[in-house]
Amino acid sequence: MIPELGNFALFIAFGFSLLLAVFPFIGLRQNDVRLMQLAPNLTIGLFVFTLIAFLSLVYAFLTDDFTVLNVAQNSNSALPTQYKFAASFGSHEGSFLLWLLMQSGWAFAVAIWSKTLPADMRTRILMVIGWICVGFYAYIITVSNPFERTLPYFPVDGRDLNPLLQDIGMIIHPPLLYMGYVGLSITFSFAIAALLNGNLDSTWAKWSRPWTAAAWGFLTLGITIGSWWAYAELGWGGWWFWDPVENASFMPWLVATALLHSLSVSEKRNAFKSWTVFLAIATFSLSLLGTFLVRSGVIVSVHAFATDPARGVFILILLALVTGGSLLLYGLRASSIKSVGRFSMFSREGMLWGNNILLVAATIIVLMGTLLPLVHKEIGLGTISIGEPFFNQMFSFLIVPFALILGIAPLIRWKQDKLNKFVKMPAFIIVVCMILAFVWLKAEFADVKVLAFSGTALFIWIVLYTTIELQQTLKKVSFNKLPLSHFAMVFGHIGLAFIIAGVGLTSQYSTQRDVKMFEGDSAVLEDYQFAFNKIRRLDGPNYEGWAADMSIYKDAELEANLLAEKRFYPVQRNTMTEAAISDGFFRDLYVSLGEKLPDGAWAMRIYVKPYVRWIWLGGIIVSLSGALILFDRRYRRSSSVA
């Protein structure tokens, strides 16, 4: 009964999206205010009925309703409750319903917080959202219905949720990513509405900036948690694999970051206008492309989601309509947009232009690395694979000019600044950074490696410059008066500095050892002694396995007690390594339990990973900056006064 209710609600929501796509459009054409005013109410209906559908699906999962195909295939009665909940959006169908919930949720938020926008603009934005919704709701109803029944022949118990997904990170990671992806559709809708209107002045940038910042913040947090999940759960000790699915989330992030910076130029200087609109289109298009890549099976990935050609074709059509349509509109309209703000290369605009060029270059690299194997195969050159070395090398090159510009830029004036600012002080500071980095690495690791050196030097560079900038600004403006968006900039940049240092240090100084140990043995790695106390049997709710009880000592003092597990999930016949990690600000100790060897010993892999936490710490700091922009009074007031 409840699943039917959900299905029914989904159809009603689809109806609302159709109305939202059509009525405001007619209203705008005929200048009928009553039709235009329907848009917010239709949006509320859309959200409410989508919420009912989503809750119905969650209910079906929580009550083990195996008459629903989706439940039978992705959950079973032995699954712990929180994972039953997670399973409701772990499957393809469920994840798209979650997507719709968020899409309508964002639209709902726009409807509520946009009351002060000009009526026609508000209507146009909601209408564009309605267009996008029609596509997605049609998709879920026709080829991906989560409420499909197994009746009359339903199984007594379900299959299982992939054990990899049975983790707290997996409960929060996909919703955060989706919040980001879908949130970018709001910026996209603002951009398209502005293009339709033909009015791309700075108000457009001002309105859309907080929405972009919010979506970008979610995306940042989602990627960070995904990376942490891969590290903690996959048991390989890695935190980023340049896997197509990861790239799919990274590309929109890169462009959204460029967009955030470009929006500030559009807003404050009335420059970069058509470029900003292009970035807004590109950001959401890359979100859709990412979804296509992940969900269609075009590209082979470790994430290996279930695939279905009908769905692939549908998503591709959606992508073609949304991106093709908006790029066509852009092509026709952008040529008549004139940016008024003039600036010299040695100005804040010039610096932000550099930021955008580098971010777009990075996006193109990721896009090429992800799609080139496909293109290569399709033009008959055989299969190739582009792996980590390519991406790592490219990003090592790009990050240097990027971080250098990032350090200086906030100190540079708009329009034109003295050349001296680009020469004397930076030259002095860079020498300081290099000396400090050298001393740091020499003292801590004895051996100075190039990539770690540049990582730490850039870290110091950004921190020093950001501090100088903040101190100089505070001379002019009091702390309480300084807008939150300025702190957002500080947080974003410092966070990135932590990521750069973390990546540089952990990639260069991590050590690992494969050891064979009997109970009572110990192994030494770096300054740490890993003692294998004993092996225990595990008996979980839906798994069984072994756990190795380990103690780690440094200078004969106990550093950590760890329990490294190997789990076997009978229903799925899957073996999972649950790595044990002792986390620390300066280092992680990581133990992953391998096979039992014929002589009774256990294979184990132990790692010492210095500064790996800095990567996620940095990611969290960066995502906080998104929240700070959101709470900036200027944007809050602008939307209540404008």
């Binding site: 199984p155 007594v156 695939t307």
Partner: protein, 191 residues
């Protein structure tokens, strides 16, 4: 003006090119794991009979006539619900059904070994109670055959023609509807 238009239309052109590749990629070969098996010969194997280890079965012993291969186990709940229907197929329609049996508790890497005599007792009891559709059961203890067949869980069913070629692969239980829509058309064509 025209020059500017050609620049701003450029992204669209690039995108359309990309779209072409994506569409082509969508339909290019090793897309679906499932279809990779279809129309391929049954993988080679030599495995003992579930009830009598001295009897060995091979791919050749399956090739005299069309056969329905059913992957199952007594631990698999859905399999229990499938047995009566499979029995009906074998008794009323004369479908030749061979089982591939695997034990989910058998995990040498965890020091767990299947208790074969106990399994035999369980299997006998279950088949007596719910119906026995199988001509014989192949014991795939190390799951090598299941792996080669791309089995991801139980129950799964394959239709093999008289030449030993895999024609249909079905995941999940075989019931009236699945038989009617998916298996029977191919089966009737093979006979």
């Amino acid at each position: 003006m025209t020059k500017k238009l050609s620049v701003s239309i450029l992204p669209l052109i690039v995108f359309i090119l990309l779209l072409g590749f994506l569409l082509k990629g969508l339909f290019s070969d090793p897309r679906e794991r499932d279809s990779a098996l279809i129309n391929k010969p049954m993988p080679e194997f030599s495995l003992p009979d579930l009830m009598d280890e001295s009897i060995k079965h091979t791919a050749q012993s399956l090739t005299q006539s069309p056969v329905l291969i059913n992957v199952w186990g007594t631990w698999c709940t859905t399999c229990k619900y499938e047995l009566p229907f499979l029995t009906k197929l074998s008794e009323e329609y004369g479908v030749k059904i061979v089982g591939i049996y695997y034990d989910q508790n058998h995990a040498p890497e965890f020091g767990q070994y299947a208790d074969i005599p106990a399994i035999r007792v369980e299997v006998k009891e279950m088949l007596q109670r719910l119906g026995n559709p199988y001509q014989y059961n192949i014991l795939d203890l190390d799951r090598t055959l299941s792996l080669n067949l791309g089995v991801t869980g139980a129950p799964e069913t394959f239709l093999i023609d008289a030449d030993g070629t895999i024609r249909v692969h079905h995941m999940g239980d075989v019931n009236e509807r699945v038989w009617r829509d998916k298996l029977a058309p191919v089966w009737n064509e093979m006979n």
